[in-house]
Amino acid sequence: MRMDTVIMGGGLSGLTCGIALAKRGQRVTIVASGQSTLLFNGGSMELLGHIEGKAVTAPLEAIGTLPQSHPYSKIGADNIAALADEAKQLLADAGIDMEGSAAVNHWRITPMGVAKPAWLTLNENMRIDSLGKLPAKHLVLMCIRGFFDQPNGMLAQGLRELGFEVKTVEFTTDDITALRRSPSEMRATTLTKRLVSHNALQRIADQINNLAGEAEMVLLPSVFGQTDSTDFQTLQSLVKKPLRLVATLPPSVAGGRMQTLLRHYFKMLGGNYLMGDSAVSGQFDGDRLLSVTTAKLGDMPLRANNYVLATGSFISRGLVADYERVYEPVFDLDVDADGDREQWTRFDVLEPQAYSRYGVATDGDLRCMKQGKPIQNLHAIGSVLSGHDAIKMGDGTGVSLLTALAAAKNILSGK
C-alpha cells in the first residue's frame, strides 16, 4: 500500500503532523496503537511551564535559553512563535477552541486546585490570566455526589489559597444517581455520555440555579461534551451565572474530545487512521526507510516516501525499558538514555526523573538516527523525542504540536 507519508502514532503529534500533510494534499496513513495519552490531558496545551522548578511567564523568551538538545532548539527558537500560531489555528480548524498566547503563559486550574502555567486552554475551562487579577472573587464549586474522580476538598482548598472565596455544594440528579449504581464505572467519560439530553442538562441547570447562591461564577467537573462543546453551551444557556469547568482525574473528557476532533478532521482531509494497529518493523535501504510492517496488515507492508515516528514515550511504548536497556522497539533507532538502570530514576518520587528526558536521538532536522547516521526519510516528533521533560518542564504538548508542524514542513519542502 503506497502513501505519501506513513505516521506511526496517532496521538497529538501524529495527528497534527497528519493533518498538516493531508491539508497540503498528501495521502497519509496513521498507524495508532490504541488511544493516546491525550486522554490524560485536562484540556490545556503547554509550551513551556517550568525551568528548573521555576514557573515560566514568557515562554517564547525562555525557549531561547534552552540547551541545543531540546526539541525546541532543534526546530529553531526563532520559528516557535510562527509554529505556535499555526498550531493554534490547526486546533481551531479541527473544532478545538482554545485561548492563550505563546508570549505570556496563563494559569490553568488542575484537578487539585493548583495553578499551573499553560499556553492554550479550552474556552470552557477555568483559567486565570494573572494571579493578581482573579476572574471572580466568589466561586461555587458544584460537586457531583458519588463522583470520586474530582478531589473536591483539595480543589476547593487550592482555589482558596489562590485567593478565591469558595463555597462547595454537593448535588445530584436522577441521571447521576442512576449511574452510581455501577460500583466502578462512574467516571468522567461515562458521566459525559449520560449527560447529553436536554432534559439531563436541564436537571443539572436546575440544581445549579437553586444552589449557586451569591457566587459570581460556577465551577463544575469537566464532564460535558464528548464530541464537541455543544452540551456545555446548552448547559450554560440554562444557567444564570457564568460556568467554568475543571479537569477531572483521567480518563479526561476534554482530552478524549480533542483526540476525537483531531481524528475526524484528519479523516475529513482524506487521511487513513488505522486504530489498534502498530508498526512492528521496517525495511531499510541504506539511509532510507523503504516500508513499514504493521501487526495487523501483516504481509502487506505500508510504503511511503516519508515516515514519521510519533509513537510516544514509555507509556505509549514508543520507548521500551527492559531489565538491561532502553530502546526504540520498531526500528531499534539510536536513543539518548543512560545505560545503567540505576541512573534511570531518582530515589524521591517527586524529583525530576531521568527517564522522562529519554527518547530517540535526532539530527537538527528531527531525522532519526540509526547507528549514528540519520535516516533521510524518517522524522521523529512528540514525546518519543529526547531532551525534554513533559512532567517537570511542562513542554510535552507544545513539543508534540510544534515538532509535528516542523516535521511536516521538512517533508513538504523535501528536506
Binding site: T37, F40, V114, M154, G158, R181, W344, L350, G396
Partner: protein, 547 residues
C-alpha cells in the same frame, strides 16, 4: 477512648511494638483480664511483621537445621488454621529438588519432618507438575507439606481488634523515647505522639518490649543490653499469582528459595545479609538484591522471567544472641523471652524477641505468662483455641453471586472475614470502588478509618490493600486521599499525605522500574505531577512549613 484519657490511665502492662508479637501479647494479656496499652512508633505491622513472605510455615524449612523451631511451627500452623481462618489460605507447599541440588537431601528432609511431626509426602515430579503448573519442569523430586499463605497485616489487626474488644488500648504513631524507672523498677514509658508532636508519660506495672529489631534500642532506654543480630532479607512482588502453592527449594536454606502466593500476588524471597544495627531503618533494596532474587526465583518458577515485578521490599529479622554466648556466634531463630529482673536486676521489664511471625501467638503466650507471673494472675491462656475476630464464624459464601456486580463486597469478605459484615453496603455510594485493582469500596475505607486506627494512606493500605494492586495506587490514591480528607475533616494534609503515599509506593517500585513498572510510574507521574501539579502544591506547602 480519647487519646488524652488513654494517657491518664495506669496500666498493668504496656506493650512496646505493634507487630504481630506485640499484638498477640496485647490480645493474650487482655484476654487474661489485664489492663493493657500497646504503643507503636509507626503503624501496626510496619516492621518485620509486614516485611516477610507472608508464608505460614509448616516448619519443614527448619526441620533439618532446627527441629525445635520446626515443631513449634507446625503446632502454631495448625492453631492458626483454626483461629485465623480469614488470614490464612490453605495452599499447601512443595519442596522441590532441582537437577543442581542433591536428591539425597530429600530423604534427610523427610525424616527430619517426621521427627518434628510435620506431614511430608514425597510425590513424583510428574504429579508436582500437575498440581503446581508453574513449577520448574526440570525438577527431579518433590515433597508436599502443609505450608500455607498468611496475611500478616490482617493477622495483626485481628489480634489488636480482639485486644480492644477485651479492654486494651492501642496507639499507633506513638514512639517510646524513654522509660520511667524508679528504684530498679520500670514504672512506665515516655511517649512521643508523632501525630501532634506531644510528649507524655504513661504509667504501668510491667513493660513488655516487643519491638522486634528495635528492641535493642528499647532495652537501652531501660538501661539494659541485648545483642541483636539484624539479618536483612529482600523480596520481590510480582503482579499476579503464577503459583497456586508455596514452592520451596529442598536444600539447605539459601537465597531466594521460597515463592509464596499472597492474596492477588506472589512473592519471591529472601536474600539474607547480616547488617549493622545502625542501618536497620534503611529499607532500600539494592540492585544486587534484585538480581539475586530474580536469578534464583526463575529456577523455582521459570515464568517469573517474564512476569512483571511490581515492587521490591526488605525486612530485618530480629535474631538474638543467646545469653550464654555473648560472642554472638550461636544465634537462635527460636523464641527468646528475657525477664530483666532475673537477667539484669531490673523489675517490671520483659523482652520478647527472636522467633518468627509464624510463632507470634506462642511468643505472646510466653510473654503474657511472664507478665502474669509478676502480677500474680493465674488465668490460663486461651489464644490457641479462641478464634480471632473475623474468623469466629463461617464467612459468607464467596460463590454467592447476586444479580448485582459485587466484586468489592466479595473482596472485602476475603480480607475481613466475618468482620466484613461491619462494612456499610446498603447504598450505591458505599459500594463504589475506590481501588479498582483490589476491590476496595468507599464503605470499606469508612470502616477502616473509623474502626481500624487509620491516620494516613499508608495505614489505610495495610488495612485494606488500597494501592497494593498492579498500578500501585494510580487513581485510587487520589480518591482515597480525598475521601479520608473528608472523613477526618482535614483536607489540608490530604495532599501531603497523598505525596507521602506515592513516595512510599515509589520506594518499592524504583528498584524494579523497568518494563511495565516504569510505564506505570511514568503514567502516575503524568497524572499526579503533569495533570494535577501535586509536586508544585507540595513544594509550596513545604516552603510555607519551613517559613
Amino acid at each position: 477512648m480519647a487519646t488524652n484519657d488513654i494517657y491518664k490511665k495506669e496500666y498493668d502492662v504496656i506493650i512496646v511494638g505493634g507487630g504481630a508479637t506485640g499484638a498477640g501479647t496485647a490480645r493474650d494479656c487482655a484476654l487474661r483480664g489485664l489492663n493493657v496499652l500497646l504503643v507503636e512508633r509507626d503503624d501496626y505491622s510496619t516492621g518485620a511483621t509486614g516485611r516477610n513472605h507472608g508464608l505460614m510455615h509448616s516448619g519443614a524449612r527448619y526441620a533439618v537445621t532446627d527441629g525445635e523451631s520446626a515443631a513449634e511451627c507446625i503446632k502454631e500452623n495448625m492453631i492458626l488454621r483454626r483461629i485465623a481462618r480469614h488470614c490464612v489460605e490453605e495452599t499447601d507447599g512443595l519442596f522441590i529438588t532441582l537437577p543442581e541440588d542433591d536428591l539425597a537431601y530429600q530423604q534427610t528432609f523427610v525424616e527430619a519432618c517426621g521427627r518434628a511431626g510435620i506431614r511430608a509426602d514425597i510425590i513424583a515430579p510428574d504429579e508436582a507438575r500437575v498440581i503446581e503448573p508453574s513449577v520448574n519442569p526440570d525438577l527431579i523430586g518433590a515433597v508436599r507439606v502443609p505450608d500455607a499463605s498468611i496475611d500478616p497485616f490482617r493477622l495483626t489487626v485481628a489480634n489488636l481488634l480482639d485486644a480492644r474488644i477485651n479492654g486494651a488500648e492501642t496507639l499507633n504513631h506513638h514512639e517510646v523515647e524513654g522509660m520511667i524507672i524508679n528504684q530498679g523498677r520500670v514504672e512506665g514509658v515516655k511517649l512521643h505522639n508523632k501525630l501532634n508532636g506531644e510528649h507524655v508519660e504513661v504509667r504501668c506495672k510491667v513493660v513488655v518490649n516487643a519491638a522486634g529489631i528495635w528492641g535493642q534500642r528499647i532495652a537501652k532506654l531501660a538501661g539494659v543490653n541485648i545483642s541483636m543480630f539484624p539479618a536483612r532479607g529482600a523480596l520481590l512482588i510480582f503482579g499476579h499469582r503464577v503459583n497456586r502453592m508455596v514452592i520451596n527449594r529442598c536444600r539447605k536454606p539459601a537465597n531466594a528459595d521460597i515463592l509464596v502466593p499472597d492474596d492477588t500476588v506472589c512473592v519471591i524471597g529472601t536474600t539474607s545479609d547480616r547488617i549493622p544495627i545502625e542501618t536497620v531503618d534503611d529499607m532500600r533494596v539494592t540492585r544486587e538484591e534484585v538480581d539475586v532474587l530474580l536469578k534464583e526465583g526463575i529456577k523455582i518458577a521459570p515464568s517469573l522471567a517474564t512476569t512483571r515485578v511490581i515492587r521490591a521490599y526488605a525486612g530485618v529479622r530480629p535474631l538474638v544472641a543467646s545469653d550464654d554466648d555473648p560472642s554472638g556466634r550461636s544465634i537462635s531463630r527460636g523464641i527468646v523471652c528475657l525477664d530483666h529482673a532475673k537477667r539484669d536486676g531490673l523489675e517490671g521489664f520483659i523482652t520478647i524477641t527472636g522467633g518468627k511471625m509464624m510463632t507470634y501467638r506462642l511468643m505472646g503466650e510466653i510473654a503474657t505468662n511472664a507478665v502474669c507471673a509478676k502480677l500474680g494472675n493465674t488465668k490460663p491462656c486461651v489464644t490457641a483455641t479462641l478464634p480471632l475476630p473475623g474468623s469466629e464464624e463461617d464467612a459468607p459464601s464467596q460463590s454467592d453471586t447476586t444479580k448485582r456486580y459485587s466484586f468489592g463486597e466479595r473482596a472485602a469478605i476475603g480480607r475481613h472475614g466475618s468482620l466484613a459484615a461491619r462494612i456499610e453496603k446498603d447504598n450505591d455510594i458505599d459500594n463504589a470502588l475506590v481501588c479498582e485493582c483490589e476491590g476496595v469500596t468507599v464503605g470499606e475505607i469508612k470502616y477502616a478509618v473509623h474502626q481500624l486506627h487509620v491516620h494516613n494512606l499508608v495505614n489505610l493500605r495495610r488495612r485494606t490493600r488500597v494501592g497494593m494492586g498492579t498500578c500501585q495506587g494510580k487513581l485510587c490514591s487520589c480518591r482515597a486521599a480525598s475521601l479520608m480528607g473528608e472523613l477526618n475533616h482535614d483536607v489540608k494534609s490530604a495532599q501531603k499525605d497523598l505525596a507521602t503515599f506515592l513516595d512510599e509506593r515509589w520506594k518499592g517500585m524504583r528498584p524494579v522500574a523497568w518494563g511495565d513498572t516504569l510505564r506505570e510510574a511514568q503514567l502516575t507521574a503524568a497524572i499526579y505531577e503533569g495533570l494535577c501539579g501535586l509536586d508544585q502544591a507540595v513544594n509550596t506547602q513545604r516552603k510555607e512549613d519551613e517559613q
